[in-house]
């Protein structure tokens, strides 16, 4: 921290790279309890984002995040499109026309993003969705920031909480989306959406601590 608009774009590129690397893994998770497209959809969406990013050089952080959100909405194809699309759009609204983001901006953006996903998906913790990774992550991040930690360290705590959240989704019944048709048969499988949320946070933490 601080994070410039250019660095924000590099972080988004790094997220796209992570999702590309995990395309087969996420799709495999989705084939167990869903419609076997999550990895493919996320990779498609972030490829489209990657193509848009050069046009955004010189733009403020809010514009970049909102454009990423709209691009995901129109290219992902599954529920993840409106969910992650809303997340990025709300994050963009939270940071407004800032050109450099500080730790407080980052926390505000994350909170707005997670609230956006909750509202759009009408999901609560325990429904076996992205929220099972994102909400504990946000709480951990907020706690670390309040204790005076750097953004990178705080995000690392968030990543650990998200990872535990993904693990937690293995033991519960899906109540949202295609997986909810499976009822008890969804137990024993980790949620693909929670997994992609964890991977995104992990990439952000690695980027912010200079490892990616």
């Amino acid at each position: 921290m601080p994070l410039t608009a250019q660095e924000l774009m590099d972080m988004i590129r790094a997220i796209g790279q992570t999702l590309e690397e995990n395309k087969a893994f996420l799709t495999e998770l989705d084939s167990a309890i869903g419609d076997a497209d999550h990895g493919i959809n996320m990779a498609k969406g972030f490829h489209a984002v990657e193509e848009k990013l050069p046009d955004l050089t010189g733009k403020d952080a809010g514009t970049i995040l909102k454009t990423v959100g709209m691009t995901l909405v129109s290219t992902v194809g599954g529920a993840a499109g409106p969910l992650y699309g809303t997340a990025f759009m709300r994050a963009g609204m939270a940071v407004g026309s800032k050109e450099v983001l500080d730790t407080r901006d980052l926390v505000r953006a994350l909170e707005a993003a997670i609230q956006g996903i909750k509202q759009r998906g009408k999901a609560e913790r325990g429904d076996k969705t992205m929220i099972d990774a994102l909400e504990p992550a946000y709480e951990a991040i907020e706690k670390e920031i309040a204790a005076g930690k750097e953004a990178g360290a705080a995000l690392a705590a968030g990543v650990a909480a998200a990872e535990a959240g993904v693990e937690y989704t293995k033991g519960i019944i899906a109540r949202k989306g295609r997986a909810s048709y499976l009822g008890e048969r969804s137990i024993g499988h980790q949620d693909p959406g929670a997994t992609s949320s964890y991977l995104i946070l992990k990439t952000m933490a690695e980027f912010l601590s200079g490892r990616k």
Partner: protein
């Protein structure tokens, strides 16, 4: 007439449902299909749904019917993307896709209101097919 938009994960399902509804209604009935993604995958795209709504939006409003999971999420996203003056006359029916679309189309062609067309789509859920 009330416009009708059919949202499905599959472009073929959306188009086919539209054709079934058209079979029973006059050609001037504003009907649009928004199925699949722009690159031909199974899925939904809020911006395609938004365009479909705008293509049939008139003073009488629009009823949207959607199939599985993300079709509803994407439709709700599409509503947010619409200009306020269009959005206030668009409703999402909680109805079975095919039966609901046919019922809504017939009701709209009879000149019924937005509320009546939505209710007809939703009542299609209770039609007994096997007696």
């Amino acid at each position: 007439m009330v416009g009708i938009v059919i949202v499905s994960h599959s472009a073929e399902v959306a188009e086919g449902t539209k054709k079934l509804a058209q079979q029973m209604t006059p050609p001037e009935l504003p009907l649009a299909a928004a199925g699949g993604t722009r690159d031909g995958r199974l899925g939904t795209d809020a911006t395609l749904i938004q365009e479909a709504i705008q293509s049939v939006a008139g003073p009488d409003g629009v009823v949207v019917l959607a199939d599985l999971g993300s079709a509803v999420l994407s439709t709700e996203m599409a509503l947010e993307l619409l200009p306020a003056e269009v959005r206030e006359r668009v409703v999402l029916a909680d109805a079975p896709l095919v039966e609901g679309a046919v019922a809504a189309a017939v009701e709209s062609s009879l000149g019924k209101s937005l509320v009546e067309v939505k209710a007809a789509a939703e009542a299609a859920r209770n039609l007994s097919k096997v007696s």
